[in-house]
């Protein structure tokens, strides 16, 4: 009997522990998903209800503007159908360039400009993030073979 009681207590605490773990995991999961939208989807209003999300596309040629005295920079992302202006303050990654596919993390400003807190470019000049390749309806580019 005693052994059985012990086992029941063990299972009871195990269940509580597992329950807490599952709760923590799922709530953290829910809160931290980042959705990805293309400029066209943003233009169509799909991203309206999201506080923060990711937008990806090619940096439009001659769209990169720097402010002369701060690290502020603005540029336009395109998926060849719609354009999305982006604002960012900070140091851009090495592979950020006009014509390059990049992803910006951030939220939509009231003026329709995307305020990015993070700009990601990949570490290979041949490489295009799959999200952007899909958005552009290109064939997935192959890396060096």
């Amino acid at each position: 009997m005693k052994k059985r009681n012990k086992r029941i207590i063990g299972i009871f605490f195990g269940m509580i522990g597992a329950g807490i773990a599952v709760y923590l995991i799922l709530s953290a999961f829910e809160r931290n998903l980042m959705y990805f939208y293309s400029p066209t989807e943003i233009a169509a209003g799909h991203a309206k209800d999201r506080d923060s999300f990711r937008v990806g596309g090619l940096v439009v040629e001659n769209s990169v503007l720097r402010s002369p005295n701060t690290l502020e920079v603005s540029f336009v992302l395109t998926d060849l159908k719609s354009n999305q202006p982006v604002r960012y303050k900070g140091i851009l990654p090495d592979l950020f360039r006009e014509g390059q596919g990049i992803i910006a993390n951030g939220s939509m400003g009231s003026d329709g400009t995307f305020n990015a807190f993070e700009v990601l470019a990949k570490h290979d000049e041949n490489y295009m993030p799959p999200e952007i390749a899909d958005t552009l309806h290109l064939e997935k580019p192959h890396g060096p073979k």
């Binding site: 063990g10 998903l33 990805f36 690290l71 140091i91």
Partner: protein
């Protein structure tokens, strides 16, 4: 001629591995020592063929043989020799060949050091190992042959990705693979014990050291990757929760659970089922890691070559190997016979360790695979970022550290709470004193989470040191037990790693600003002066080097830090070479952003307290694993 020879040896090794599997199978089923010996010989020949094949590929790189497509894609005549040689594993095909070579080295090592084990057990282990080799060699030959020619050859190669032209990247992949692939030995031993029924507990004794060795390599491999990312990616991050990092962390976590569980199985004949499942999972997750990295489903710096055929092949292979292993487990699990233990005993803590580490692994797996599943089902594109992993992993790991401190002070089989509590008095007192001192010290910028992290680390260190002096464990020259010493070193290493992570996460100072030559900036107590900017030229790049003079408040000269920006012509890639003044207690980290206007640059200044502790802790963990392995007194054989 040389590349064809390389391909020939690759195919030769394929036929040898087939011969190895079949003769060992005949030997194991008919109990014939001759066939088993023949199988062993085939294994040795197979390993030699693979090593020759690998050497020939290296030779193609050394001699700039651009008729080989893989060489022309990843090398260049201007590339220095050491990078030409490490370029062998700079991309998919060659790193796969490296994987296969390391696998055969592990298997040969096992075959050589297993003379005292039962012949049949060894035979079955080598059969399963052969099947894994077979799968990977087939994969290499049919989807990723590195010896394919390209005629006419280009005049020069496309160069190695500049990010990979670095010492850290010469040794990071081999170390990591030594770890990944090493888990194949525990996996094969686990399956062999299931096939033979007799050794369901005994196999743990035999597999323990191999698992420890693989785990130590994996620990070093992950630490090297983190260190490399820190100084090479140019912004000082040391862990990104990138899916590829997760792919290496998951086998590490399960491997950590495995070494603890194996220890209990070997010593007390408990958790046999757990150990078997963990051994299968650790290698399964290593394979999954390979799949994630190589299939191109991930967006990552590592996903250099994407080819759906490769992904499908590895996925099928995982399903067969891991599915088959679980099937064998399911069919044979009834023969497992565990001994009992009391609730208050060291066994309970080890069980807790396994469960917690498995839960952490499951949460990381969820975060890593969920976006892939959603994408595959066309439900949109999402990503799971660092906030999720931090929010989940940290609270689960915190209680683990409390119990990690207690467990080594408890007794096997049966213990009582009051005796344990008595032993914990001293470390509890030490930790309390430290906590108060810490809170007083940090009172100005107190972060509750940082305090928790530090207090838990000190708790682990205090209790670990106490075990060395406790009655049962006392280390004397007469009775020198490597297992206890190794465990203590590894646990202290873990705590040191946590201290580093905590301090650099909560007390790092960063400043992004625009600076021209002659400008000065302040960060914390330091003054940074942009002293000069000069052009530099390397063998395959051009660039600029900025010198920063860092002084402290009293204007006492401190240090000059060079930071570079390089442009690699062949690939057209720009690279940041951060300037780092490394110190045990803090790193000063400076990197150049981009040129703004004609004179100025964007500059990133960082002061990273205790960041070295992260890698120092990892090194201690690996050393602890090796010590526990080398000095364990051998237990009596069955």
């Amino acid at each position: 001629m040389i590349p064809e020879l390389g391909a020939f040896f690759l195919v030769l090794s394929l036929s040898l591995v087939l011969f190895q599997i079949s003769s060992l199978l005949i030997g194991a089923l008919s109990d014939s020592a001759i066939w088993i010996n023949l199988g062993r010989r085939a294994l040795y020949a197979h390993a030699v063929a693979i090593i020759i094949s690998f050497a020939l590929l290296s030779y193609c790189f050394a001699t700039n043989d651009f008729t080989v497509k893989y060489v022309s894609m990843n090398s260049n005549t201007l590339l220095p020799l050491q990078y030409r040689l490490s370029a062998v594993w700079g991309a998919h095909e060659g790193s796969l060949l490296l994987w296969i070579m390391i696998l055969s080295i592990w298997i040969v090592a096992f075959a050589l050091f297993s003379s005292s084990l039962p012949k049949k057990f060894v035979a079955w282990t080598l059969i399963f190992a052969g099947i894994i080799s077979l799968g990977f060699i087939l994969f290499c030959i049919f989807t990723s042959n590195p010896f394919i020619r390209q005629i006419p050859p280009p005049t020069n190669g496309a160069d190695l990705n500049p990010l990979l032209q670095d010492f850290g990247l010469i040794i990071h992949p081999p170390m990591l693979y030594m770890g990944y692939v090493g888990f194949a030995i525990s996996f094969c031993c686990a399956l062999a014990s299931l096939m033979l029924k007799e050794y369901t507990n005994q196999w743990a004794v035999w597999a323990k050291n191999w698992t420890l060795l693989a785990w130590a390599f994996l620990t070093m491999g992950i630490a090297l990757g983190s260190w490399w990312a820190y100084y090479e990616l140019g912004w000082g991050g040391w862990w990104f929760w990138d899916p590829v990092e997760n792919a290496s962390l998951m086998p590490w976590l399960v491997g950590t659970a495995l070494i603890h569980s194996l220890n209990a199985t070997a010593k007390r004949e408990v958790f046999s089922g757990w150990s078997l499942l963990l051994a299968i999972s650790a290698f399964g997750l290593s394979l999954l890691g390979t799949f994630l990295v190589r299939s191109g489903v991930l967006t990552s710096v590592h996903a250099f070559a994407t080819d759906p055929a490769r992904g499908i092949f590895i996925l099928l292979f995982i399903v067969i190997v891991v599915g088959g292993a679980f099937l064998i487990y399911g069919l044979k699990a009834s023969q497992i016979n565990d001994k009992g233990y009391a609730f208050a005993s060291r066994e309970s803590y080890l069980l807790l360790n396994s469960v917690v580490l498995s839960v952490v692994t499951a949460t990381i797996l969820l975060g890593t695979l969920y976006p892939l599943a959603i994408d595959a089902l066309n439900l949109g594109k999402i990503s799971v970022g660092p906030p999720y992993f931090n929010a989940v992993v940290i609270p689960i790991m915190a209680p683990l550290m409390i119990f990690l401190g207690i467990a080594p002070l408890t007794s096997w089989h049966r213990d009582n709470w009051s005796a344990t509590l008595h032993k914990l008095k001293l470390p509890l007192l030490g930790t309390a004193i430290f906590s108060i001192a810490l809170i007083l010290m940090l009172v100005e910028n107190l972060t509750i989470r940082a305090v928790i992290g530090l207090v838990l680390s000190v708790w682990v260190i205090a209790t670990s040191l106490t075990t060395l002096f406790s009655k049962e464990n006392k280390i004397s020259l007469k009775r020198f037990d490597g297992a206890i010493l190794g465990r203590t070193i590894a646990h202290i290493g873990f705590a040191i790693c946590v201290i580093g992570i905590t301090l650099v996460s909560y007390y790092e100072s960063t400043s992004h600003l625009k600076m021209g030559v002659g400008d000065e900036a302040q960060l914390n107590n330091y003054n940074f002066k942009f002293a000069s900017l000069d052009n530099v030229t390397g063998p395959n790049y051009k660039g600029v080097q900025a010198i920063f003079e860092v002084t402290n408040k009293e204007q006492k000269y401190l240090v000059q830090i060079p930071a570079e920006k390089r442009f690699y012509d062949t690939r057209g890639m720009t690279m940041t070479e951060a300037g780092i003044d490394a110190g045990l207690l803090k790193d000063i980290y400076i990197s150049l952003g981009e040129k703004i206007g004609t004179e100025a640059w964007s500059v990133r200044l960082n002061i990273k307290p205790f960041v070295r502790f992260i890698w120092l802790g990892a090194i201690l963990m690996a050393i602890g694993g090796l010590v526990a392995m080398g000095l364990t007194p051998r237990r009596a054989k069955l």
